[in-house]
């Protein structure tokens, strides 16, 4: 095993910033993409994303105009790509919170290079998820029914339903993630303000940074706020996907009604989120020349997390089957045999091979540190995790208790286009983020450099 990584002696620990950077050059490298003229690939990417975003808006417009019948949903499959994609996006978001909050509490300093990036991903993914949940109710204009608002009908939500818990969980999650991200951004926005070459730029970043000046009295409260937010986000992120899993687990459908769902969903969410961070990060570090800050060591560590969570997901798949047999419940057993060998077996085996088999390749250091291979595996995991939600949602529904109503569900073109469109929303926001905000937390990266230690250079550890 690589003892360097686990060494307790800070001078022997793996360096997190390579390339002999100084505090000033870190600011330069991270601010460069924001201050330079937009590159051509960025404009092309933005145009492509915007066209997909337009596709999303057209599909949503069509949905509102025509009604939910334009989707392939029908009895007994009442939840299809809408819920599948909702869970897919919300799961992706979880890696961002894991990196920003949980790894912060565990003092994992390597997180500073990727946390901003991952948090942005969280926010945009949760926006996509929120959009799905908002529109899947069909009558979007009465979405306010969901909220406990006094109304002329004297009607209130049912707080004994996981679906209402889900609303509170997701909206709290979005709010807290956005605030956490913004708090982290404030010192970096001040850096951008102080470097601004144009008046408009200075004005905008000055407003956004609210007059931050790096005073120690500010840092004191700031660090405390950051710690508290991390401590709040950690149980929050676990609760959000647990509650998402309650949407399924609290029903009485074979294949859904299992107690393993909350931990299984949380592990899967982190797994899929890390895969998405990996996919995006590999592209960004290549294009923006961030290899000194997002080093191979970072990528390898992320791959280890993908391996660990992938194995947990694999364990959950196996345990579901075991319990289906061990419980002696014939409906449960039928649901799982149908999952693996029924009409949706193709989806099931896509899921198993993508999520369980391919990530196991990360046991090999050669593969863990080989960039093209990890890129391919990260995409495979993204696809596999989408299929996981598809398998859970659709296979449990399509053969219900009454064989005469069994149905094979396929999406319509509207659902497919809306799904593609949601990527348009995600990437539009992401490209705007890459261009206008620092994608690496400048002040945090500086804070973990050896030079940032006030006792740096003192010769007591000769």
């Amino acid at each position: 095993m690589d003892t360097q990584v686990f060494s307790e002696d800070p001078s022997r620990r793996q360096k997190l910033v390579l390339g002999g950077h100084t505090f000033a050059s870190i600011s330069d490298v991270v601010c460069k993409p924001i201050e330079d003229k937009a590159p051509t690939w960025w404009l092309i990417g933005l145009m492509a994303s915007l066209s997909f975003l337009l596709l999303l808006f057209s599909m949503l417009g069509y949905l509102v105009w025509e009604g939910i019948g334009i989707w392939g949903l029908n009895n007994p499959v009442m939840w299809g790509w809408d819920l599948v994609t909702f869970v897919f996006w919300i799961g992706i978001g979880h890696a961002g919170t894991l990196i920003s909050a949980i790894l912060f509490l565990f003092r994992q300093k390597w997180r500073t290079s990727i946390n901003r990036f991952a948090e942005a991903m969280t926010i945009f993914a949760v926006m996509c998820a929120g959009l799905y949940i908002g529109f899947h109710i069909g009558r979007f204009w009465v979405a306010y029914y969901l909220f406990p608002i006094p109304n002329s009908m004297q009607m209130w939500g049912n707080f004994r339903s996981p679906l209402l818990w889900d609303l509170f969980a997701v909206s709290t999650y979005f709010t807290i993630s956005l605030l956490f991200w913004y708090v982290g951004l404030v010192p970096d926005l001040a850096t951008l303000r102080d470097r601004a070459a144009t008046k408009t730029r200075k004005f905008v970043y000055a407003i956004l940074s609210m007059g931050w000046r790096g005073a120690n009295r500010h840092w004191q409260n700031y660090e405390r706020a950051y710690l508290i937010l991390a401590a709040l986000s950690t149980p929050l992120v676990l609760s959000v996907h647990s509650i998402v899993s309650f949407d399924f687990a609290a029903s009485q459908l074979p294949g859904w009604h299992t107690t393993i769902f909350p931990p299984y969903f949380v592990a899967g969410a982190i797994f899929s989120g890390f895969a998405m961070v990996m996919t995006l990060m590999l592209i960004a570090r290549e294009i923006f020349g961030l290899k000194d800050m997002v080093t191979l060591h970072h990528l390898e560590t992320m791959n280890k997390i993908i391996l660990a969570t992938g194995t947990m997901v694999g364990y959950a798949y196996a345990m579901e089957f075991f319990v289906a047999w061990y419980s002696g419940n014939e409906y449960e057993a039928f649901a799982f045999i149908n999952r693996a060998f029924g009409p949706y077996a193709w989806a099931y085996w896509t899921m198993v091979s993508s999520n369980v088999i391919f990530p196991q390749l990360f046991w090999f250091k050669k593969i863990r540190t080989h960039i093209p291979t990890m890129f391919v595996i990260s995409i495979i995991v993204n696809i596999g995790m989408w299929f996981e939600r598809f398998v859970i949602t659709v296979t449990s529904l399509h053969r219900d208790f009454l064989p005469s109503s069994w149905e094979y569900y396929s999406p319509t073109w509207v659902e497919v286009c809306q799904f593609l469109g949601s990527f348009g929303l995600f990437f539009t926001l992401f490209l705007l983020f890459l261009k206008f905000l620092p994608m690496i937390a400048i002040s945090e990266v500086k804070g973990i450099m050896p030079e940032a230690n006030p006792h740096h250079g003192e010769t007591h550890h000769g």
């Binding site: 000033a24 209130w156 969980a169 010192p187 407003i207 405390r224 706020a225």
Partner: protein, 177 residues
């Protein structure tokens, strides 16, 4: 205005020299001084003689309020405002109220942490005397600064200047309010 000078500013090269300068000013008895750095420096709160942040208590109060509000909202809605029996469960099913109580508590705490932090730091504050200092722009990138306010009882333009010099400060200058 009688007081047109905000104070004296000195610049330091490293986090370590900034920390020692803060210790020097603290030991001399200065109170109204401040250090500025592009990232938080370990041990600076003690070096400046600052008390612990009270933010945790603010968050605690708001978190407790959130928890209570979440519980009361659900109880009021389910037991009084909209009595509807779902799958035979009692109207007051407090077990089912736990997730929403938790989420509302987190929401209130998070909002309190963020807005409490900004309030304690009196931000947004778009004008501040320090921004008048021509070299201060690097404080958010790689500069380490100390300011001593003219309002401090011990402040004297000559003596404070000399002390800052002795502590290793560079580019010492007065800043207008």
């Amino acid at each position: 205005m009688a007081n047109e000078i905000y104070g004296l500013v000195a610049e330091f090269d490293t986090p370590g020299s900034l920390l020692r300068a803060a210790e020097g000013l603290r030991d001399f008895g200065y109170k109204k001084f401040e250090t500025y750095s592009p990232f938080p420096i370990h041990g600076m709160d003690a070096a400046m003689g600052l008390k612990d942040s009270i933010l945790g208590w603010i968050v605690f109060v708001f978190g407790a309020t959130g928890l209570t509000c979440g519980f009361l909202l659900q109880t009021w809605v389910s037991v009084y405002a909209y009595k509807i029996t779902v799958s035979g469960k009692p109207l007051f099913s407090f077990q089912a109220f736990v997730p929403v109580c938790f989420e509302v508590m987190i929401l209130f705490s998070g909002l309190a942490a963020v807005f409490g932090m900004f309030t304690l730091n009196s931000l947004p504050e778009l004008y501040h005397a320090m921004f008048n200092h021509p070299r201060f722009a690097i404080a958010s990138s790689h500069g380490f600064f100390v300011s001593v306010e003219a309002e401090d009882g011990l402040y004297s333009e000559v003596e404070t200047w000399q002390l800052l010099e002795k502590l290793g400060g560079k580019h010492i200058a007065t800043v207008e309010a």
